[in-house]
């Protein structure tokens, strides 16, 4: 286990360093550099040169990368071009709100998707399977902003029970004080997640139901309920832990669209506003943070999976 943990940690560290390299390279793809983006089209060449010198952009690339890394290690993500605050501060104000949205919808999605997937696997190739499969494919094929809009039309216009806009509070506490506003954004993100998870639970359960141990359990005379809940479900749910890690990038992408649609003041909305104003320090800061969160999430999921399933860590230890 220790060996597996160390290998996996080393990998995660390498990935994080590569991510910083990628974001750094993207920053230097900017036509005319960051100077044009901040100073505008009217800036003279002298102004641009002065700016580049001041920011250290006229030094060799490797020196700039070293400086960038050094600042990152100190927690300095830069200073926003547009908002009068540091990137770290801007992110820190919005991070809890995005976490709330993502965690709540992930939790709900697991709670809904596991029973759905199990029903599909047990009744596979019969009408409950086809119905659920059809609905989840439909949800998957619908652009999430279109689905969100359908929810707004249904629950704010046709049957006006919920507000169409997310809570506009500045702090997490203010957001939580308006739970009704949270319902639609969370539900929208949940539906998309359920569509992905339930297919996964179904195929994992189907694989396990074909295993020999299930036949053994049945031939012992156990009731079908015990076979499914007591034996198959335990094994069938392990891969879902990995899925939780694997699905994080898609979850964050989904959150970006949902936050924009419902005007939810989280990191996604911050990123979107920064993209329109070409506020590159914010763009890179958010991208980096979200990527690190993804790497950490995948790491935690893998370690948890190895903890519950010894086969994984044995295999990884050998190779």
């Amino acid at each position: 286990m220790t060996r597996y943990l160390l290998t996996r940690l080393g990998q995660a560290l390498v990935i994080v360093i590569l991510v910083t390299l990628i974001t750094f390279v993207i920053l230097h793809l900017l036509p005319g550099g960051a100077a044009r983006a901040i100073l505008g089209k009217e800036a003279t060449l002298e102004q641009i040169a002065a700016f580049n010198h001041e920011m250290g952009y006229d030094r060799p690339l490797w020196q700039q990368y070293a400086m960038y890394l050094q600042r990152l290690v100190q927690g300095d993500l830069g200073y926003s071009f547009q908002l009068n605050q540091s990137v770290a501060e801007a992110i820190w104000q919005r991070l809890p709100k995005t976490m709330l949205l993502s965690l709540a919808s992930t939790f709900l999605a697991v709670v809904v998707a596991v029973p759905l997937g199990v029903v599909q696997a047990v009744r596979r190739n019969r009408w409950p399977d086809y119905t659920i499969n059809g609905l989840s494919l439909l949800a998957y094929a619908t652009p999430i902003f279109f689905m969100g809009l359908m929810m707004i039309i249904l629950f704010s216009q046709v049957w006006p029970v919920l507000p169409p806009e997310a809570p506009q509070g500045f702090t997490l506490a203010e957001v939580l004080a308006d739970p009704a506003g949270l319902v639609l954004p969370t539900l929208t993100l949940t539906i998309l997640t359920v569509a992905v998870y339930s297919r996964y639970v179904r195929s994992s359960m189907v694989d396990n139901l074909n295993e020999n141990y299930v036949r053994t359990a049945r031939s012992k005379g156990l009731s079908e309920g015990r076979v499914i809940v007591g034996h198959t479900l335990r094994n069938g749910l392990f891969p879902v832990i990995t899925l939780l890690g694997m699905y994080l990038p898609a979850l964050f992408s989904g959150a970006l669209v949902v936050e924009r649609l419902f005007n939810y003041p989280g990191m996604g909305l911050l990123f979107w506003q920064a993209a329109l104003k070409r506020d590159y320090p914010i763009l890179l800061g958010v991208t980096l943070l979200i990527s690190v969160a993804t790497v950490l999430g995948a790491l935690v999921a893998d370690v948890l999976y190895a903890a519950v399933d010894p086969r994984v860590r044995l295999k990884a230890g050998r190779s």
Partner: protein
């Protein structure tokens, strides 16, 4: 690939058998039919139904469907909505197919090299894939789209530049397991070359997974175009795509202009479903192990 003549017969048999399995999956046939219909609508439609999709006409904005020779009405700047759906469909389908193809080709090459080379080459190449995969797609797209002005070829490159990661992982995994299969080792032991292993065993075995994945890539690419348009980084007018039309339609929802919202929305859902159905059908064909379940 120049295979000797006598080796071709079983290959053809495999394809015919595959075709039969594909046809048994009714949803896959529905998918093919949907795709053919939507493609014909987008590419052949304008031959029969000609509209001006370049010049705006501010005297004819928001006409309701059926008025003044506009079966689906007009939008906020006077474009005929039915004609615009055809134009938008062309972009959505072309970008989806091209980005899916680009991603599949790049990913297959990358994954095959990593899988065959093994050792540190594999480790380095796969860590690059891991790193890019940790950056959520939409964030990466928006970063790139905020740097370059989105045009149709640019969209294809941007989406393709991210989407190759999935196929790369798949092919690498396939290559790793196939390399050590007994029949490949036996062939190598009898003096077969590495090139023969790749041509006769590894590519035919991995191609199924790759094709199935490519189908889903196309569906995802079409959705990504829609998301980019929604986030304000799509191709600017007079160009159009279904995603852009749908997100433009969002602002008209509460003014009652339903014809600007539902037709592009339904078109996207149908084309994404079509590719998913086709992908499921192809999976039946190629993944023999799953057939009898």
């Amino acid at each position: 690939m120049t295979a000797p003549h006598e080796e071709e017969a079983p290959v053809r048999g495999m394809w015919r058998q595959g075709f039969e399995v594909f046809c048994e999956n009714r949803l896959a046939l529905v998918g093919v039919a949907l795709f053919v219909l939507l493609a014909a609508f987008s590419f052949l439609g304008p031959l029969f139904y000609q509209t001006d999709q370049v010049h705006t006409d501010l005297t004819k904005v928001f006409l309701t469907p059926g008025t003044d020779g506009h079966p689906l009405g007009t939008d906020g700047v006077g474009y005929d909505q039915l004609g615009r759906l055809m134009l938008g469909g062309q972009t959505s389908i072309v970008v989806g197919l091209a980005a899916g193809l680009l991603a599949t080709v790049v990913g297959t090459i990358w994954g095959a090299i990593a899988g065959f080379a093994g050792s540190w080459v594999d480790a380095v190449m796969m860590r690059v894939v891991d790193a890019m995969m940790s950056i959520p797609a939409l964030f990466l797209f928006m970063l790139m789209a905020s740097i370059v002005t989105p045009t149709v070829p640019m969209l294809i490159v941007i989406i393709g530049a991210f989407a190759w990661l999935g196929p790369a992982r798949l092919v690498r995994g396939e290559a790793l397991t196939l390399r050590t299969r007994e029949y490949v080792m036996a062939m190598r032991g009898m003096g077969g070359t590495g090139g023969r292993a790749v041509r006769r065993h590894i590519i035919p075995n991995a191609i199924g997974t790759v094709i199935v994945n490519a189908t889903f890539q196309v569906a995802d690419a079409i959705l990504y175009v829609a998301y980019l348009s929604f986030l304000g980084l799509g191709v600017p007018p007079p160009a159009a795509n279904w995603g852009g039309m749908l997100s433009d339609g969002l602002s008209d929802t509460f003014s009652g202009h339903w014809w600007l919202l539902y037709p592009p929305g339904i078109a996207i859902i149908l084309i994404v479903l079509a590719f998913n159905f086709i992908g499921d059908g192809l999976r039946d064909v190629f993944e023999v192990r799953l057939r009898r379940r």
